[in-house]
């Protein structure tokens, strides 16, 4: 079973695990911050930032990407990059209301003629 693999010391894994647990405590802690101090949107942003850090720790160390080849880096990253392209759908939801009767350019274009 001897391999060419990069053998990470167990100590590194334990440190990462402890960090993950601390971040878990942090994310629950943010949940209990009163909304007068932290708006829901900011709370969500903090929670997501913590989740991204946790995911990065898992990907980097548990999944050994930091020791991986360039090719591994490429394929580990491309999924998230493409997910951001898919998230382009959100643009539709932030601009679609402009199609609606409540004062959109499109709507004016459609109705101005009949409205004498």
């Amino acid at each position: 079973m001897t391999g060419h693999a990069h053998v990470t010391p167990v100590r590194v894994y334990l440190v990462v695990y402890v960090l993950l647990l601390m971040l878990l405590v942090a994310t629950v802690g943010v949940y209990f911050v009163p909304h007068t101090m932290l708006s829901p949107a900011a709370g969500l942003a903090v929670a997501m930032a913590i989740a991204i850090v946790k995911a990065a720790l898992v990907i980097g160390f548990f999944m050994q990407v930091v020791y991986g080849t360039k090719l591994t880096w490429l394929w580990a990253a491309i999924g998230f990059v493409w997910l951001s392209l898919l998230a382009g759908i959100m643009i539709d939801y932030s601009t679609r209301h402009m199609n609606m009767p409540d004062g959109s350019a499109f709507d004016r274009m459609q109705t101005q003629a009949p409205v004498k």
């Binding site: 391999g3 060419h4 894994y13 647990l21 629950v28 898992v58 990907i59 548990f62 999924g79």
Partner: protein, 232 residues
């Protein structure tokens, strides 16, 4: 001519290396192929779950109150417990991979079994303590869906159904991945104990590890998104 020499050494290496599939020239090539192959599979998984996360985000922006009130039916304590279980299982998984890398067969099998038990514990919490009470409260989308299950809510039942639909779809798909993970790790543990030829090479355990960490990452995002929706 240096290429010729390189080629000849490749052939020589080929003839001597164990656990080398016939289509590869050497172990380095084989190892990186497996890792990149697994990662490109995980890319499909990222987009598979990612599309669901996108649906979640779109409706969360549109119907914040449905999410707010829906999430109060979920127990953050149980979600936190399950996060703890999965993070720990990720640790035991890397310890299994580490043991396999340093050629400790029985230890690797042991850590895999521990990981399996943790995964099973996750499922018990999920099904028995979370999904089953939802069923009792008529919160599973369908003809028996009843909203709110007690008290008064300004959120229309259809939108609450949407929230619970996303909850069950996303945690359900994640749960299916946990079940598949248990299967893979269980089989690998048995093969290790039997000293099967395939697991004399650490790569299958490493690949199972990549899969399992991915399952963990999905949960890392699911937990704050469903259980920790800020109070307004």
């Amino acid at each position: 001519m240096s290429l010729e020499a390189a080629h000849n050494t490749n052939i020589a290496v080929h003839e001597h290396e164990e656990h080398l599939a016939h289509q590869f020239m050497n172990r380095a090539q084989q190892d990186e192929s497996y890792i990149v192959g697994m990662w490109s599979f995980l890319v499909t998984e990222i987009l598979f779950f990612g599309a669901l996360f996108l649906c979640y985000s779109i409706f969360r922006i549109q119907y914040p109150m449905a999410y707010q009130e829906g999430h109060e039916e979920l127990s953050w304590q149980l979600g936190c417990l399950n996060t703890l279980i999965l993070l720990t299982s990720s640790l035991t998984m890397v310890l299994a991979v580490h043991a396999a890398q340093v050629n400790k067969r029985i230890l690797a099998a042991g850590w895999l079994v521990v990981t399996c038990f943790l995964a099973a514990g996750f499922l018990v919490v999920k099904l028995a303590f979370e999904w089953y009470p939802k069923y009792l409260h008529h919160l599973i989308p369908g003809v028996h869906f009843h909203w709110p299950h007690e008290g008064f809510s300004e959120v229309a039942p259809g939108k609450a159904e949407l929230f619970f639909g996303l909850y069950f779809a996303m945690t359900g798909l994640h749960g299916i991945h946990v079940v598949i993970g248990i299967g893979i790790m269980g089989v690998l543990a048995i093969m290790l104990l039997l000293n099967h030829k395939s697991t004399q090479y650490y790569m299958p355990i490493e690949l199972a590890g990549l899969y399992w960490h991915f399952v963990d990452i999905v949960w890392i995002f699911l937990f704050p998104l469903f259980y920790l929706i800020g109070k307004r």
